[in-house]
Amino acid sequence: MERSLGREIIATLIVSALLIWLLPMVIATYTLTVLVIYGMLGLSLGLIWGFGGILCFGQAAFFGLGAYTYAIAAINFGESTVPMLLAVLVPLIFAAVLGALMFYGRLTDVYLGVITLVVTLILFKFVNSTAGPQYVIGNARLGGYNGIPGFQTLNVPGNPDAYIWGDPYFYFCAVALVIVFLLVTWLLRSSFGRVAIGIRENETRMALMGYDVAARKTVLFATGAAIAGLAGALFANWGEIVTPGLFSLGQSAEIIIWCIVGGLGTRLGPVLGAAGLAYLKFVLGQQSLIDNTLITGLILVLFVLFLPKGLVPAVSALWKASFGRARRRPLARQRRKARHG
């Protein structure tokens, strides 16, 4: 809160511009695109969990909903603009309804986790079983476990033949991430964001101050879902196919792991955690000495045991210790509080 918003925006823009310019020299833009998309997905959970205190075990549900909505709409519309918008709206509305159900029922902590987990499972099981030709929405066959391939990918609005793919698509996604990041930054500094953090810290007290906690949590939850939905739509365009695996428990688990490793309660942590771990998985996938899953699991266990605050706060603390002025650090309790709701 001490640094002005203006300075933060400028710093973010400069660093992002540098990264967008330099990284493609080291890593292929095809890979970078999906890392950026995962970064956005991680940020969506980081927002609602790290700052809002809402532990959602099924963030992948909104990711999948966004991807599938895009695919189905793209097949039906033949052009990408409206599908992109729908891909953000559908998860948002779904989350608003689900959130209202949960938060007005005053569910907390573990029980919230169970319901979000169950919702993801329901979606996964349902979509997975829609293999027959009778499962259609408009012109789009749902395809069951095979997924939906062959839909119109991102094009310049109004011109279905002017595709945006390859390098330009990477820049599009990267810019999208920066914009979302800045929006989240602005949101957290606004009154809404500060109240959300207050709710994370002590719901009862915020209610006693007169804030409608259930309503605010629902709005925050829906916002996170919208961001995840956008990531899903971008993913659909990148992979050119959507499969039920996007809704899976495994995907939800990964998003949670990204946030923990990156650092809950920070904006950058989940983004870096997502990009970093996804890249690690990509690199590890190319070796077959030790099983991938084993390494991911080991990383999670070790982080929870030894580095529960995640990487970004640890690195930031190190930086401040070496270079910064002496400052009080509110991070530790914030972290624990964020995780335990």
Binding site: L55, L101, M102, G105, R106, L107, D109, V110, Y111, G113, V114, I115, L117, V118, V119, L121, I122, K125, F126, S129, L249, G250, A253, I256, I257, I260, I290, D291, N292, T293, L294, I295, T296, G297, L298, I299, L300, V301, L302, V304, L305, P308, R336, R339, H340, G341
Partner: protein, 322 residues
């Protein structure tokens, strides 16, 4: 699980729903068939409840007693299955492998996990969930490296038998019996033995138990051992029914998790009430529409139940019972 026995279908008359009518006195044969059908349905429902009880027992013990959510529970079951298969492959009798060896081995693995990881995270509910989730991935990775990705399995060691026109798998009865024995044993140990009483006391107030001279550390170890052993037993017993792959645990953990949380704070009463509720819902919808809808119905029932009773079933009813 249940199949129609193949008889001559030449002059079969069928009731709605495909139930064949035997060509005898209409009244008598109708009663006979619906009696058979009712019996079969009853067995199927009991089986659904029993398998939910089995799947969830290990997790319930660990959560109900220690407030630890062990997300590696599904993998413990998977390890129980692989232990059984390995033991049988080495010539051990299948029932001994399932009922003795698998629980012991998985119990030991659980003990190691408790000492190395869980012990440091008591009281931190979310952190234990995350750490055990990580462990589950580790076990999946290890199992893949050791056993490979292909499906292995053993056939059900008890043959089926016929009831009227229907065929019931004898193994289903075995599972129902195992589940029933399990619940009775748990009740007996917790209610009737000194060890059970000490365990229950520690779970309520660890500091008081310590003040009375009991080591909470030891009790947590023992409880986690028992919980893991139960998971291993469940996995072993359920292994002959499906092909086993390293990722088999994933199918179980969600159901177990939901059943335990929806059950609420009471260990056995909660387990039985939620397993019964979900088992019945699952089977009703499976019979009425399809197995997939049955699964979805179970999940929807869970959402509804938790919305109405946020503390679980035994948070509202049967309060105070074990």
């Amino acid at each position: 699980m249940t199949t129609r026995s193949t008889k001559s279908k030449s002059n079969r008359v069928f009731l709605p729903g495909g139930v064949p009518l035997a060509p005898r006195h209409p009244f008598y044969s109708f009663k006979q068939v619906s009696m058979d059908l009712s019996f079969v349905i009853a067995v199927e429902v009991l089986y659904a409840v029993a398998s939910l009880v089995l799947i969830s027992a290990g997790l319930a013990v660990v959560f109900g007693m220690m407030k630890v959510i062990n997300l590696a529970h599904g993998e413990f079951m998977m390890l129980g299955g692989y232990t059984t298969i390995t033991a049988v492959g080495l010539g051990v009798n299948v029932f001994i492998a399932m009922l003795v060896i698998a629980p012991l081995v998985v119990g030991l693995i659980g003990l190691i996990v408790e000492r190395l990881v869980i012990r440091h995270l008591y009281g931190r509910l979310v952190d234990t969930m995350l750490a055990t989730w990580g462990l589950s991935l580790v076990f999946i990775g290890l199992a893949t490296m050791i056993f490979g990705n292909t499906t292995t399995g053993i056939s059900t060691p008890i043959p089926g038998f016929a009831v009227g026109d229907y065929q019931i798998s004898g193994y289903n009865f075995f599972i129902i019996v195992v589940a029933a024995v399990l619940v009775i044993a748990m009740l007996a140990v917790l209610r009737g033995t000194r060890a059970g009483l000490i365990a229950r006391g520690t779970m309520q107030r660890a500091d008081m138990a310590a003040a009375l001279g009991y080591s909470p550390d030891r009790i947590y170890m023992a409880t986690f051992f028992c919980g893991s052993a139960l998971s291993g037993l469940a996995g072993a017993v359920l292994a002959p029914l499906v092909g086993l792959v390293p990722t088999s645990g994933g199918a179980y953990i969600a159901k177990a998790f939901i059943t335990v949380i929806a059950g609420g704070p009471s260990l056995i009463a909660g387990l039985l009430s939620s397993a019964t509720s979900f088992g019945v819902v699952n089977q009703v919808f499976t019979f009425a529409i399809s197995p997939v809808i049955g699964e979805v119905a179970l999940l929807v029932a869970a959402v509804v139940l938790l919305r109405l009773m946020p503390q679980g079933i035994t948070g509202r009813f049967f309060k105070g019972k074990l």
